[in-house]
């Protein structure tokens, strides 16, 4: 177990700058997820932490020691790969035992047949068998130890790859999109398994994924990466409720956040689709066009005369407990997704007109560059009071 520090990590591939000065502190025992769209540099960053890739600049510190010149095998990390990277010719037992054999046994002790002649081999092999048994028990692999990887299902292979990582009790675990080769149901299941494993081992986990659901459900903290930069680091609820960048707001959350064009008057009043809202900017930003983000669950049905906008239902997605309405707003080609509890959506059908409002304190305002702008709800709104939704 150890904390991990990234200091101004940069990486260049030819002319392209893949990582632009990453600064990140990962605490001991923390589950941190690096999340971002594909090509944002998150896997590269993980490989730099592992030492499989060399950074162009900056430093990696593990347990306060600079490891830039330390080989991956000496950094005391374990990694679970997207393709699992199991040794296809070795049984599950041998696959899990490889990290121990490579570290605990000498070259002579690893030779076939001859190894029993070297003193101490038997005791070491007993230790290894014990540790493999321990790891396979945690992961429920006891029945599969004699099988070859080809005889295992995707989820079982995944578990063997995790077993190979935990058997050595390393300082830090690295996961490189470990669930992306599994089907949807298994992915949900493995998600909880990995979370429970983290709770059990209490080690530092660094987990790379492009799936925001995985990031939201598993992590202590999320680090959102975009185009080689860390855009925001925070707990899942911080990142979801208080995104500091419009790209974060768009990336985290499913269905995607609704973004509306808006503008600001010189005294800081926010206009949405040309309509006045009760929102004020805390710092002036007059005359600029802005974007206003409202999450689908924050839109609610309202009386026609109180509604801030109305639209026609184009599509209804019924998920059982809740319903997603896809609307086309009146006057313009703005589309909106609304997330409603099942009961509230009863009676709404395609082609119906619905009227919407939103609690003002839920609106997220972003400036032209996509940076978040803090707002406050006016005490007495020019049109009417705030938070009209029940």
């Amino acid at each position: 177990m150890a904390n991990l520090k990234l200091q101004a990590i940069t990486k260049r591939f030819g002319a392209t700058q893949a990582l632009k000065g990453i600064e990140l502190d990962i605490r001991d025992g923390e589950f941190l997820t690096l999340v971002g769209p594909s090509g944002c540099g998150k896997s590269t960053l993980l490989r730099i932490i592992a030492g499989l890739e060399e950074q162009s600049g900056g430093d990696v510190l593990i347990a306060d020691k600079r490891v830039s010149k330390v080989r991956p095998s000496e950094r005391d990390l374990a990694m679970v790969f997207q393709s699992y990277a199991l040794y296809p010719h070795l049984s599950v037992f041998d696959n899990i035992a490889v990290p121990l054999r490579m570290r605990w046994l000498s070259t002579w002790q690893r030779l076939p047949l001859a190894h029993w002649l070297v003193p101490g081999t038997r005791a070491q092999e007993r230790n290894i068998t014990g540790r493999v048994a321990e790891a396979s028990e945690i992961l429920g692999l006891q029945e599969l130890l004699n099988r070859k990887p080809a005889q295992l299902s995707g989820g079982q292979r995944q578990r063997v790859a995790v077993g190979r990582a935990i058997v050595r009790h390393p300082k830090v675990f690295l996961f490189d999109e470990p669930l992306s080769n599994l089907d949807a149901k298994l992915r949900v299941h493995m998600r909880t398994e990995i979370t429970q494993l983290h709770r059990r081992l209490r080690s530092t986990f660094i987990y790379v994924t492009h799936d925001q659901t995985e990031a939201m459900t598993m992590s202590d903290r999320i680090a959102v990466m975009m185009e080689g930069e860390l855009v925001q680091v925070g707990t899942p609820s911080e990142v979801y409720q208080n995104p500091r960048d419009v790209r974060v707001a768009e990336f985290i959350g499913s269905p995607k956040i609704n973004l509306f064009p808006g503008s600001v008057t010189s005294n800081g009043n926010v206009y949405l689709l040309g309509k006045e809202t009760a929102l004020c900017l805390e710092a002036p930003l007059a005359g600029e066009t802005i974007q206003i983000g409202i999450r689908p669950e924050h839109l609610c049905l309202a009386d026609p005369e109180r509604a801030i906008f109305s639209g026609v239902v184009q599509l209804i997605e019924n998920l059982g407990a809740e319903v997603f309405l896809h609307l086309h707003l009146d006057g313009g080609d703005q589309s909106v997704i609304v997330r409603l509890p099942h009961d509230l959506a009863a009676g709404i059908a395609v082609k119906h007109r619905v009227h919407l409002d939103f609690p003002r304190e839920r609106a997220l305002v972003f400036d032209l560059q996509g940076r978040r702008v803090d707002t406050e709800v006016a005490e007495v709104g020019p049109v009417r009071e705030a938070a009209p939704c029940g």
């Binding site: 490989r47 592992a50 030492g51 499989l52 080989r71 991956p72 095998s73 990390l77 374990a78 990694m79 790969f81 997207q82 393709s83 990277a85 199991l86 040794y87 296809p88 010719h89 490889v98 990290p99 490579m102 570290r103 070259t107 690893r110 070859k148 990887p149 080809a150 190979r164």
Partner: protein
């Protein structure tokens, strides 16, 4: 009942449609082997009106007559030397080239040259180089005798060896070997040329095999604590190349059993039948001596050899190298 009629009609049509392919296969692939097998039990000669059945006599001769014993020895020597050496050299060259960042393609081309060049044409070059008196090789070797330090190094005099007891020292005093005319050297020379020609091909096959080794496996091994490239080779590269190795060994084995052109061009099976390999024996018996029955018997024996080896490969090895 109606269904049965339809089924039978379908069967008839199916047979009719596949008949051309089946007939072609029988005539072109099976018939020649069948004819050779039949002829191997006769004393047939081309041009004769008839033939006598001789039973297994041709086969008995293969395994008892000293000429054919020499044939088996020559063929097996060639195979047992050329296959392991050219496979290992091919693997080594492939690994080295694969580890290069630049210039790999130059090496690939150079090592592949002997494969592309016709062996018969290259045999002439070799014949010239290996000529006992005017050949490049013996010329160079005897030049070394006059240069003091080469002589001392090659004879081992530097390490206190007796120069006259070494191979090089004897060569200097008694003349260097007749590479193709000496019964001790001829088969080795033929083997050398065989290796020279085969290893480039094996290298290319291994290079193709190496591209299929997933890069993540190497990364995983690095994380697992593998430090030396030797361990990495045994943990990943060698097992992952298993299917390639089976293929390479099989191909090289069959090609080595079929060696003919170097022997025909350089030694004609001699001296004293020391390079009398199977293909050359078939050629000499069946074509030159017009003993078609005998030639057919060797052909069948050859076929059985290669078939057995290939089957053994499939049964013993192939099952262990395919992991998926």
């Amino acid at each position: 009942m109606g269904k049965n009629v339809v089924d039978r009609r379908h069967q008839g049509i199916a047979l009719l449609l596949s008949a051309p392919a089946i007939i072609l296969m029988l005539v072109i692939l099976i018939a020649p082997i069948a004819v050779a097998t039949v002829l191997s039990f006769t004393d047939y000669s081309l041009g004769n009106a008839g033939f006598e059945w001789v039973g297994g006599e041709n086969y008995t001769r293969i395994f008892t007559h000293s000429t054919y014993e020499k044939m088996l020895v020559a063929s097996l020597t060639y195979v047992l030397v050329v296959v392991p050496v050219s496979v290992l050299l091919g693997l080594g060259a492939a690994l080295l080239i694969n580890s290069l960042r630049h210039g790999g393609s130059i090496y690939k081309t150079i090592y592949f040259l002997p494969v592309m060049a016709t062996l018969l044409a290259m045999a002439i070059a070799w014949e010239f180089a290996l000529h006992p008196t005017i050949g490049l090789i013996n010329d160079t070797l005897s030049d070394g005798c006059d240069s003091g330090w080469v002589y001392r190094l090659a004879t081992g005099a530097w390490y206190g060896n007796d120069p006259s007891s070494s191979w090089y020292g004897q060569g200097c005093s008694q003349g260097f070997p007749l590479w193709l005319g000496d019964r001790d050297y001829a088969i080795r020379t033929i083997c050398f040329i065989g290796i020279w020609q085969a290893f480039g091909f094996n290298m290319v096959l291994y290079l193709a095999g190496l591209t299929s080794v997933p890069r993540e496996l190497h990364a995983a091994a690095e994380m697992d604590g593998v430090r030396s490239s030797w361990t990495r080779f045994w943990l990943i590269t060698w097992p992952m190349l298993g299917p390639t190795t089976v293929f390479v060994v099989t191909i090289t084995l069959i090609r080595s059993f079929q060696v003919f052109d170097t022997v025909e061009a350089l030694t004609h099976g001699g001296p004293v039948k020391s390079t009398f390999v199977m293909m050359y024996a078939i050629y000499e018996k069946a074509i030159q001596h017009n003993l078609v029955g005998m030639g057919a018997a060797i052909t069948v024996a050859f076929l059985v050899f290669v078939m057995l080896l290939t089957l053994a490969q499939r049964w013993l090895v192939e099952r262990r190298v395919h992991y998926a």
